[in-house]
Point group: C2
Chain length 324, copies 2
């Protein structure tokens, strides 16, 4: 609705439309035509929902993959709710790219236009206590023998959980900034970055949290934008690691941002936590540095491998986990 | 510990010992010897836990199925935490029966000694509203077309959830009473009963809840009990359906009871809910009657089929669900 002026009278494609709710919002905002595409059987319901809301003239539901369906015109706007856990896990960004390259007019709009994936070190004593330290004394019985199994059960895989700003040890690092106008499919195969954090407090480091935000910016100063005139101030993921990236961006357009950060209201995406098997005591101002790589699993292309290397206080560790 | 006098100096077998905690409790209660049996790899940890607590002389961990492991003596006591969701889903009661028939001395003790599975009609407007009615108006959009899919997604399978006593429309019906001294393996293949409820209030009937309790009674008046002298006042599941069974039993031994009823503090078993796809408005004193059958699935012997037939206000329905 904030971009109604650009949607009014325009042709829209909704990538992965689900129930069709975003397509209907676009129709309500005055779109001339909306192609609602979904490969799943939900397209059947979307068609009925559209009909029940007397929008069958405007919203055309296409049951199929964006790679396969045919749309006989170029579109002005792409909308999509494509984001997965950790932004990229089971995400539909690839379909958005395909739709963009197949149908988007030069200067067309993509909503959301950009996404940023963040990483930050966290402390979470309650979680560690409940899952791990619990076994040290169970009704007076020493069950420490359970600790290795408990650590593996609790922390082998990434955990989708809600934490708060109080769990976060310092400003986050930008793992990946996605400009939806320019990102290419091959960039999604593997995302890698080096990070360097400086803890703002003395606390046990229990792991790292991922979260993301997405921006909804309209075209900048004209109704025609091109990739090179993108209204976004791109956050480069090639920033030197000793630059602490600021989460709050200054943008003359003040774009609408959907944030899944720990300090913001919880969403169904929550945050994704990578817990260490053993916490590391860090002092205030102590450096935590290393690298992280998110990549498609060879075992199953829907799985995501998270390779996390971290060093602090002269010791270095690697944590491998698989998002299944 | 309440049965310490019977455990002291006796031989115990713990069926499905897990971490070994019940075996250790028995050792602490003075058992002469405890055989801790588990077929899963957790037996490795159980052995370590026993050792760490200096009980390796008393607690003998056996990694294997009760059908396969060898114990070269008869035992005085069987303990087991065998209960699954809906009491019988993925339960280890079969292993307890096997252990009893292989090793329990005539007059020996089984803890828990009995279990009772209950069924009651429930009302749950909040749950129905959140899962189903939600779709009638989503941000002003009529999404009623989603209702069939929503009902199937939400209510096709049994739901393990916590409800409260306020959700329950009337006294529960005893679906099955298990006397651990006398129950036979073939009784577990299929459990069937007819029920007749009289709603204590006017409310929409949203479904039915299962829950159970288990009793820990010692031997009655002597240290030797036989099945026919069982200290339990058995609740027959052949009671005439117009008898409203009382949940509170009067038992001179006042046995310790672990209850998973909605009016009692929640447990990890919660309750098992079978929701109707469409609620039925019932008046105060209205009769809800029918039958329920729990049986092993032919598709997969670990699955449990729940066949629920219910009639009220002159209409009759059947709900089939599978606990996977």
């Amino acid at each position: 609705m904030q971009h109604q002026s650009f949607i009014q009278g325009r042709v829209v494609v909704d990538v992965g439309c689900g129930t069709g709710i975003l397509s209907i919002f676009c129709a309500q905002a005055g779109a001339k035509r909306v192609y609602a595409v979904d490969a799943s059987a939900i397209a059947v319901q979307a068609k009925e929902v559209v009909k029940a809301n007397n929008l069958a003239e405007t919203v055309i539901v296409l049951h199929g993959r964006v790679e396969d369906v045919e749309i006989d015109e170029q579109v002005d706007v792409i909308i999509s709710e494509w984001m997965g856990y950790t932004l990229l896990y089971e995400s539909m960004l690839g379909s958005v790219i395909t739709a963009r390259d197949r149908w988007l007019k030069h200067g067309g709009l993509i909503l959301p236009c950009a996404a940023t994936l963040y990483l930050a070190p966290i402390t979470h004593p309650d979680r560690y206590n409940d899952s791990i330290d619990f076994w040290r004394n169970v009704y007076g019985i020493d069950m420490s023998a359970m600790l290795p199994v408990a650590k593996q059960c609790a922390f082998e895989e990434p955990c989708v959980e809600t934490i708060t700003g109080e769990n976060v040890l310092t400003w986050p690092h930008v793992v990946k900034h996605v400009d939806c106008y320019t990102i290419q499919l091959n960039e999604l195969e593997s995302v890698s970055t080096r990070y360097k954090f400086q803890s703002m407090m003395r606390a046990p480091l229990h792991g790292f949290a991922f979260w993301f935000d997405v921006e909804f910016s309209g075209p900048a100063n004209s109704s025609i934008i091109t990739p090179s005139q993108s209204p976004l101030i791109g956050l480069s993921d090639d920033d030197p690691v000793d630059d602490i990236p600021s989460k709050k961006r200054t943008n003359p357009n003040e774009p609408l941002v959907l944030s899944t950060a720990p300090e913001d209201p919880p969403t169904h995406w929550q945050q994704t936590l990578i817990y260490l098997y053993d916490p590391i005591e860090v002092e205030q101002d102590q450096i935590i540095e290393g690298s992280v790589t998110l990549s498609q699993s060879k075992e199953n292309r829907r799985f995501m491998n998270i390779h996390l290397q971290y060093s602090s206080g002269g010791r270095s560790f690697v944590k491998e986990s698989v998002f299944r």
